[in-house]
Structure formats: structure tokens, C-alpha cells
Symmetry: C2
Subunit: 138 residues, 2 copies
DNA sequence: GTAATTCCTCTAGTCACTAGAGCTTCAAGA
DNA sequence: TCTTGAAGCTCTAGTGACTAGAGGAATTAC
């Protein structure tokens, strides 16, 4: 049996975060000791590792809840799980695309200043005038 | 003189967001009509456009406040403005790097499932086992 | 037995908004 | 001038995924 601190050390999930996941229904409420402290077993450790991994990959809490629910029904078709993963991939790709547009503009903004005072500063000028931007990064 | 709705249409910033920016000190509290409604001039429109542009480029509220404060002192050296922009560029690049690592893993996770049921689903298996990942995306 | 550490619950704060309730003011047509 | 409907006002609370802290109880090590 692990205490919540043991579980935290083994999974890298902070103690208050484990309690938060319990509240959110990502992890089942475990047994308690006589003194009302949480006591976990191997199964809970694995589930928490699953949650942690999915969070690290950027899945939202609702997606993770759905994936856990699904994994409890191994005979059902897995199309839903596959589509959650595909959506997550698409969302990551969108974020990358947007950030790359920002990178292009910021590269110019951050490296083109040859002024000495705020009055000549290219950073300030560029932020004041979107027409100087190459791209519609909005 | 513009009403808050006029300002919103001209800048693309939603009305409640304009009021929020005023509360946060990004935009000065404007004059009021006899009936206590906000009335803006050309100057406030420009400042709001500046704020909007900086937000679109990902700058945080504190950075924007500092940049506005600086731009009110055109004779000061602009090193601080330049470094705020450089930090923002670095932060965007870090985010891109992290998302690209996620993209690599998610690509595999989302496309390698050839199972039919949840029991065989590669998505579920991959999320349960970080050892299948190529990279340390944590 | 005692002291240090860990645990408990609960509330509130983070960031940058967004939504809604309940009320007042403004602008345009009849 | 009157009326109606849009737009404005303030204030509170909710979002996502935690994080911090208060104030107290349980556990563990010596
Ligand atoms: Zn400069
Ligand atoms: Zn721009
Ligand atoms: Zn599958
Ligand atoms: Zn992994």
C-alpha cells in the first residue's frame, strides 16, 4: 500500500494534483487508513501513470476521462479512442502553425532594433503598427 | 468620440475585454458621458490597438504594461523593450519545440492503431506505456 | 514519548478573459 | 415628444488545470 506521497514520488504527480484528479474523477477515490489517509495499490498507480502520460501529451481532462471509461470496456470498438487521439494531433498541429507565425514576426521584431532610445525602438514601432508584419498572425 | 462599442468594432477587441483591460491598467480610464458611459478619442484607440497587437503576438499583460510605460518615455534607452521582445521570442520557440516533440509521439499514437476493439487499441496501449515513446516529452 | 514529517479538508489565487443578472442610457423612428 | 430596442453600466462567477496556504490530525523515526 502506498501513501499519497509514495504515489507522488513514483509517478511525478504532485500530491495536491493527485487529490485534484480524484475530485475530477480521473482517479478513483482509494481506500483510507484508520486515520483517514489515502492508501493506494498497484492498480491506482497504473491509472495515475496513464493520466499523467496523457496530460503530458496534452490531452484535456474530459478526453482522459473518456479514454479511461473506454479502456474499461475492452470489447467495444476503438474508433472513439482513435478519434480523440487524432483530434489531439490536429490541435497540436494547429498550435504549432500559429506559434510559427508568431515566431516569424517576433524574430523580426526582436532583432531589427538598431535604435538607442525608446523613441527609435523598432520593438515599440512594430507593436504599434501591424502593417509592418509580414503575416496575419491574429 | 467613440463609444465602447465603436472602439470594439474598430479594434476587434470585445467590449468586456476592453473593460477588463481598463481594470488591468493596460488602457487608461476614459472620459464619461453625462450618463456615465465611456467615451474614447483617437489616442485611446491607438493604445488599444497596441495592446491588441501585443496580445496577438503572445505578450503577457505585465509585459504589455511595461512596454506602454516605456513608450511614454521616448528618451530612455530601449534595452528593456528589446529584452522583453527577445524573451517572448525565446518563449515562443520553447513552446514550439515542446509541441513538436508531442507531435512526433501523437503522430505515432494516432496512426498506428490497427486494432478493432479497445482491447487491442494502440492508442490505449501507447498512453499506458511511456516506454513506447521515442522521446522524453515530459 | 516526542518531534518531524506527512497527511487531511477547505478556501482562494493563477491567467486572460467570458457569461450572465439586473439595471440605466442612448439613438432613431413615429 | 414619446417609445422602443440596442447598447451601455457594475458586479459576480465561471473557465482549465492546477497551486498555495491555513489550521489541524495522523504517521513515522528515533
Ligand atoms: Zn529597441
Ligand atoms: Zn502584426
Ligand atoms: Zn484504436
Ligand atoms: Zn510518452
Amino acid at each position: 500500500m502506498f501513501s499519497i506521497g509514495d504515489l507522488s514520488r513514483r509517478t511525478g504527480v504532485k500530491v495536491p494534483t493527485i487529490r485534484y484528479y480524484e475530485q475530477m474523477g480521473l482517479v478513483a477515490a482509494p481506500e483510507r487508513s484508520d486515520g483517514n489517509q489515502r492508501r493506494y495499490g498497484r492498480q491506482e498507480l497504473e491509472r495515475l501513470a496513464f493520466v499523467r502520460h496523457a496530460r503530458d501529451l496534452g490531452f484535456g481532462v474530459d478526453d482522459i476521462r473518456a479514454l479511461i471509461e473506454l479502456s474499461g470496456h475492452p470489447d467495444q470498438p476503438c474508433g472513439h479512442a482513435d478519434s480523440i487521439a487524432a483530434e489531439q494531433l490536429a490541435s497540436v498541429r494547429e498550435k504549432i502553425a500559429r506559434l510559427k507565425r508568431l515566431e516569424t514576426e517576433l524574430e523580426r521584431i526582436a532583432t531589427c532594433c538598431d535604435g538607442k532610445t525608446v523613441g527609435d525602438c523598432y520593438v515599440i514601432r512594430a507593436l504599434s503598427d501591424h502593417a509592418l508584419c509580414a503575416d496575419d498572425h491574429a
